[in-house]
């Protein structure tokens, strides 16, 4: 039996406005649904516990609209960002160096890998008291905690990327008598950039989380967002606490987006994942 299949014109590219709506629409809709859920949960609370979930207008007047709170949020975010970025500034080069060493020498990979996995499986929160006893309450222990949170993804993704290098390309370099270093710089590292950036995005998000967690345990000095979370809870200023939470998430998302953007700029012209 034959059946008639009518011709179908190729799909037109949607209008720019529609395309934007298709991209922005779903998260906005989901956001609205979550806000509604929040309002519903809040209405279910007894009157005297409702301060636990401030309403949108309270959040605005009690936090974001108030100049001193804004200044405090800004300052605290700066402190947190400093801890997170210092941690990353240490783990990115060291992690990349370890990734390269593990690629160069099988025994380095064999030696280091179990400890990388162990590092990833230790609950970092559980060793924070130990870090406290060893290093006190200053800046250094906080950075160390960020480093523990962010390290794993960097050498592992870089190693994965280096191993994905086409063996034909290695042969090509060998035929010209290229040194191992030249091969690494001109072939290995560029080839592994997409994988490495996937790792950097993960680590950057974890760096903000690590910085905030570290502050929850080390309430001292001019604190960052983590300390603000604790202090506002003690003072029953829940609007400010929610504001600190929102700024924390915004920072996490911000660094994630930054590394996505940077990756896209660096390799969208040649790598498919760069377009994602």
């Amino acid at each position: 039996m034959t059946a008639f299949y009518p011709p179908r014109p190729a799909k037109q590219r949607p209008l720019a406005a529609i395309e934007i709506a298709l991209n922005v629409g779903p998260p906005v809709l989901l956001g609205a649904a979550l806000a509604a859920l929040y309002a519903w949960a809040r209405s279910g609370l007894e009157e005297h516990r409702r301060f636990l979930m401030p309403g949108w207008s309270d959040l605005w007047t009690g936090a974001f609209a108030s100049e001193p709170v804004r200044a405090e949020l800004f300052r605290a975010a700066g402190v947190t960002a400093q801890i997170a970025l210092t941690g990353l500034a240490i783990t990115i080069p060291i992690g990349m160096l370890l990734g390269v060493l593990m690629f160069r020498w099988r025994f380095a990979e064999r030696a280091a890998f179990p400890y990388l996995v162990a590092l990833q499986s230790i609950p970092i929160l559980a060793i924070i008291p130990l870090i406290q006893s060893l290093l006190g309450f200053g800046f250094v222990p906080k950075v160390l905690i960020v480093a523990l949170f962010t390290f794993f993804a960097i050498p592992t993704t870089l190693l994965l990327g280096l191993k994905s290098l086409d063996p034909g390309i290695i042969d090509l370099f060998r035929l010209q008598g290229a040194s191992w270093r030249t091969t690494l710089l001109k072939a290995g590292l560029p080839a592994s950039l997409p994988a490495l950036f996937a790792g950097l995005r993960i680590s950057a998000g974890l760096a903000v989380i690590g910085a905030i967690v570290s502050e929850l345990f080390f309430v001292s000095g001019d604190g960052g967002l983590g300390q603000m979370l604790i202090n506002t809870k003690i003072d029953f200023q829940y609007e400010q606490m929610y504001a600190a939470l929102i700024v924390s998430s915004a920072m996490s998302i911000g660094v994630y987006l930054f590394f996505s953007w940077l990756g896209r700029r660096l390799f969208s012209s040649w790598h498919d994942a760069g377009e994602a």
């Binding site: 086409d166 034909g168 390309i169 042969d171 090509l172 370099f173 060998r174 035929l175 010209q176 008598g177 290229a178 030249t182 001109k186 072939a187 560029p190 080839a191 950039l193 390799f267 012209s269 040649w270 790598h271 498919d272």
Partner: protein
């Protein structure tokens, strides 16, 4: 520069071979016996094709000649100073444009930027990729990638050119067109070629000599001269000699695969 436009005559006399294997054997570390007593001498300017069953050691033989793999016994004589090698896939660096890919080998050899740029430009034009210099490999078709790969090898002005099934992944029409372009380059540059292929027609059309290898461990079991003068034109494909040569190679190949 090799600008002679005449066909390089295969030297019939006993000139020293450009590339020779004498009783060359290779057993890999895992015990795979890949090559068993290869005897082959390629004269300067000769174009030799190698056919053989899959896995018989053809790629390995080229890799031995290039120094990418060590052999276990016998002897190898080759001048590696001007060695060209094209792989089965184009092996372009995906993050580099066509121009920067073609410049790569000279860059690795430390040629100054202006010079390697000039040479790359020239070879890109030679393989018909002008206008695509700033394209990335992912924007090219399979045939164009292979051309870029060829242009890259040509930048070294190879005296000896090793080809590992360079056109194996292409459609018949593109393959035949690239065959003609390769013959034009051969006439122009006058290199010595060792060309691995699975296509009998390609081997017969391109080469002055066709050798057939046995199943692994690879040995050379048959040799045929291709009695067509260069420069060759498409008409020879329809000649009786071409049909006879193809038939003989095909029979040898079937016999080699059966063992």
């Amino acid at each position: 520069m090799s600008e002679q436009a005449t066909a390089p005559p295969p030297a019939a006399d006993a000139a020293a071979p450009a590339l020779s294997f004498a009783d060359l054997s290779l057993t890999f570390a895992d015990g795979t016996h890949a090559l068993a007593g290869i005897n082959l001498a390629v004269r300067p300017g000769e174009f030799v094709s190698i056919l053989g069953p899959s896995g018989c050691g053809k790629s390995t033989l080229l890799r031995v000649a290039a120094g990418l793999v060590d052999y276990s016994a016998g002897a190898l004589n080759v001048d590696r100073a001007h060695l060209g090698f094209t792989f089965q896939d184009a092996t372009l660096l995906p993050w580099r444009t066509v121009r920067r890919n073609v410049e790569l080998l000279l860059e690795l050899r430390g040629a100054p930027p202006a010079e390697r740029r000039r040479i790359a430009q020239e070879k890109i034009a030679l393989v018909g990729l002008s206008g695509f210099e700033e394209h990335h490999p992912k924007q090219l078709s399979g045939g164009m990638k292979m051309r870029a790969s060829l242009a890259r090898s040509l930048t070294l002005d190879p005296k000896i050119f090793l080809f590992d099934e360079p056109f194996g992944a292409l459609d018949e029409v593109t393959r035949e067109r690239l065959n003609d372009e390769l013959l034009a380059l051969y006439a122009r540059q006058g290199f010595t070629a060792l060309f691995v292929t699975h296509s009998i027609a390609e081997a017969a059309y391109l080469s002055s000599r066709v050798v057939v290898m046995s199943a692994r461990p690879g040995r050379i079991v048959a040799e045929f001269a291709a009695p067509f003068p260069y420069p060759r034109r498409d008409e020879i494909r329809y000649s009786a000699d071409f049909a006879r040569l193809s038939g003989e190679v095909s029979a040898a190949l079937r016999a080699a695969s059966a063992t």
